[in-house]
């Protein structure tokens, strides 16, 4: 039976992770994500899981990657400064195809910025922050319920594609308390084990290799160096490197329409809002308050890989309005995929757009 609760976003994230089978959390305290670590510290030891507070965020993500190689579903949670510190090892997880979940409760940046205020300023960092080319998945909840549902989904996607998956939430959703429906069980799709006789980094048709868990007799060598299908370092063969990196990008990018998670409202609209995360709530209010204006709305629950086809679902669109709590990071990605004029509505400082602000932008475009 579904359980109804009144819960904070960060708590919902931790509970969802536990429901999804997460049994390892390596973390470091940082506002506004700390409640996730605190909740995991209370809950994991009673569930035969491991909570470890590491010496910094570099160590946190490293411990998570190590735990994942023993077969555990593993995660960490952080915010901007910690997220920046994790970048090198995120690239390591990409290169070694290590499933893990990284929750970023975004706050105002750059640098120490606004520890207690919300932002969406790390949306390009989560896509491009580590050096080199790769594909990645980023989920953006707009409510406590979505925090729960998308955290579960993040673990399944991480195991399915063998990549680090980002839950790119923010201080608004992380610290908000809302009604939430917690299901009895959640769907858990475990990672596919490596078939004996197959080389450890030989990919299947979907570009994803089976997982050779440590301690099961695979004798696998895992390295962040460019490696061949045996996992052996081969760092100077141009064709081998090109093929490996292309696979790391394409295994995610080619599946973007399968991965996509969106909600479309009024597909015949001429003025269409596109949002992810908290601005979604403001736009819903605008639509609710102004039904006669027939605004359209596209909510992206998964921003990366960007599902560009979905823009075509608004055939009469004359303008896309993109309110973001940053200087216009995803508006630029949308511009790249459409001939429809894109109106970026950045909002910095930590507060949400008001419905009046967004209504005024839409009215000016009529």
């Amino acid at each position: 039976m579904t359980k109804i609760e009144f819960m904070q976003g960060n708590t919902a994230c931790a509970e969802a992770a536990l429901a999804a089978g997460c049994r390892f959390f390596g973390g470091y305290p940082i506002t506004p994500s700390t409640e996730i670590a605190e909740h995991m510290a209370r809950r994991l030891p009673k569930m035969d899981g491991v909570f470890v507070q590491m010496e910094d965020e570099i160590g946190s993500i490293a411990s998570v990657i190590g735990a994942s190689w023993t077969g555990a579903r593993a995660m960490t949670a952080t915010s901007g400064p910690g997220f920046s510190l994790m970048m090198e090892n995120i690239g390591y997880a990409v290169m070694t195809e290590t499933p893990c979940v990284i929750v970023n409760i975004q706050r105002g940046g750059p640098s120490t910025g606004q520890p207690t205020m919300a932002a969406q300023g790390d949306m390009l960092q989560c896509r491009f922050g580590s050096h080199g080319d790769y594909g990645t998945i980023a989920l953006c909840p707009a409510s406590v319920q979505e925090m729960y549902d998308l955290t579960v989904k993040a673990f399944n996607l991480a195991d399915r594609f063998r990549i680090p998956v980002f839950v790119m939430s923010d201080e608004v959703v992380g610290h908000m308390r809302e009604r939430i429906e917690i299901p009895d069980t959640v769907t858990v799709v475990p990672r596919r084990p490596l078939e004996k006789g197959t080389l450890p980094f030989t990919a299947g048709a979907d570009g994803v290799p089976g997982f050779p868990e440590f301690g099961k007799g695979y004798g696998v060598h895992v390295t962040g160096l460019t490696h061949d299908e045996r996992g052996y370092p081969e760092a100077t063969d141009p064709a081998l490197h090109a093929a490996l990196v292309e696979r790391l990008v394409r295994k995610v990018e080619d599946a973007r329409h399968e991965i996509a998670d969106v909600t479309l409202t009024q597909p015949d609209a001429e003025i269409v809002f596109i949002t992810y995360g908290p601005p979604t709530r403001t736009v819903r209010q605008v639509l609710h308050d102004n039904p006669e204006k027939a605004f359209g709305h596209l909510q992206l629950r998964i921003v990366w890989p960007f599902p560009e086809d979905v823009l075509g679902a608004f055939p009469h669109a004359r303008a896309f309005i993109v309110p973001e709590m940053n200087f216009g990071q995803i508006a630029r990605e949308i511009e790249r995929h459409t001939c429809v004029p894109v109106k970026s509505v950045p909002k910095l400082g930590g507060e949400l757009h008001t419905p009046d602000e967004l209504l005024a932008v839409a009215e000016a475009l009529r």
């Binding site: 049994r23 390892f24 390596g26 491991v50 470890v52 590491m54 010496e55 910094d56 570099i58 160590g59 946190s60 490293a62 411990s63 998570v64 990657i65 190590g66 735990a67 994942s68 190689w69 023993t70 077969g71 555990a72 593993a74 090198e88 090892n89 390591y92 050779p212 440590f214 301690g215 099961k216 007799g217 695979y218 004798g219 696998v220 060598h221 895992v222 390295t223 962040g224 160096l225 045996r230 052996y232 370092p233």
Partner: protein, 262 residues
């Protein structure tokens, strides 16, 4: 020891230079692992970046060749998530003492049940011979062309202070003692740190009048001072030459440890 069981023949030739001491230390480690009766399927070798960190890539077990300085943080995750695995970390002076220093002291403090074998060659070998926190005063490297002006980090003393259950130092010359020390480390619950001073004729010896491999091994042999002898000299008021380093067992104790299989 059966080399076929532990080494990946299909990875030869290895990358270590002629005369490198790392092979000796890897052999001593695998000898100790085999004496412990550990098997391949449940033994994991983990490393960071540098010459010493290439060792796991030549061993047939599961192995994790990670990022620079972070091996101990990765190892912490592996060991805590599955305490049934025997975890050994190979590292070097640059990897462990410079970029990885913070993880080192905290792994010692947690006293996590892993064994760390540090190949201290007093130099950054992989990148061609830059000074490290363990380059002796006055020594020439590509980044200390006028002689190293910083003091040396005593890694074993650091491990003792930070809380490791077992700490020993030997050199690539002392293969019997080194193998025994590693075995004690593997057998000790909690964090074990074995520092192996090794020769690097290519990046260190060449610039420091120790060009021949035998010169470097002789240097290690003649500069190693048995801990008991050093203590006796100090008690008797004798001056211990500044360029000598103590070898032997620095600590063996039973502090509460993390990641020990219950």
């Amino acid at each position: 020891m059966s080399f076929k069981d532990w080494f990946r023949e299909d990875r030869l030739p290895h990358i270590f230079c002629t005369g490198c001491g790392n092979g000796t230390v890897i052999n001593c480690t695998l000898e100790a692992v085999e004496e412990m009766g550990w098997i391949r399927d449940t033994t994991v070798f983990i490393s960071g970046i540098g010459c010493s960190s290439r060792a796991p890539g030549y061993i047939t077990t599961d192995s994790l060749h990670t990022t620079h300085g972070r091996a101990l943080a990765f190892a912490t995750g592996v060991k805590l998530a599955n305490p049934r695995l025997n975890v050994v970390v190979f590292t070097g002076d640059g990897d462990l003492a410079a970029i990885g220093g913070n993880h080192f002291i905290h792994a010692c403090r947690r006293n996590i049940d892993i064994t760390v074998v540090c190949m201290n060659n007093m130099i950054y070998g992989m990148t061609g011979g830059q000074g490290s926190p363990c380059t002796p005063p006055g020594a020439i490297s590509t980044t200390t062309p006028y002689g190293m002006c910083e003091p040396v980090f005593d890694l074993s003393a650091l491990a003792v202070t930070a809380g490791a259950n077992y700490v020993a130092r030997w050199t690539s010359y002392h293969v019997t003692e080194l193998t025994k020390a590693i075995k004690v480390g593997l057998d000790t619950p909690g964090f074990s740190f074995i520092e192996a001073m090794v020769q690097c004729p290519t990046a260190y010896g060449r610039r420091n009048k120790l060009r021949q491999v035998s010169d470097m091994v002789t240097y290690l042999k003649t500069h190693a001072l048995l801990l008991q002898k050093k203590q006796r000299m100090e008690e008797e008021g004798e001056t211990v030459p500044a360029d000598m380093f103590a070898v032997g067992e620095f600590v063996r104790r039973d502090r509460p440890a993390m990641g020990v299989l219950k």
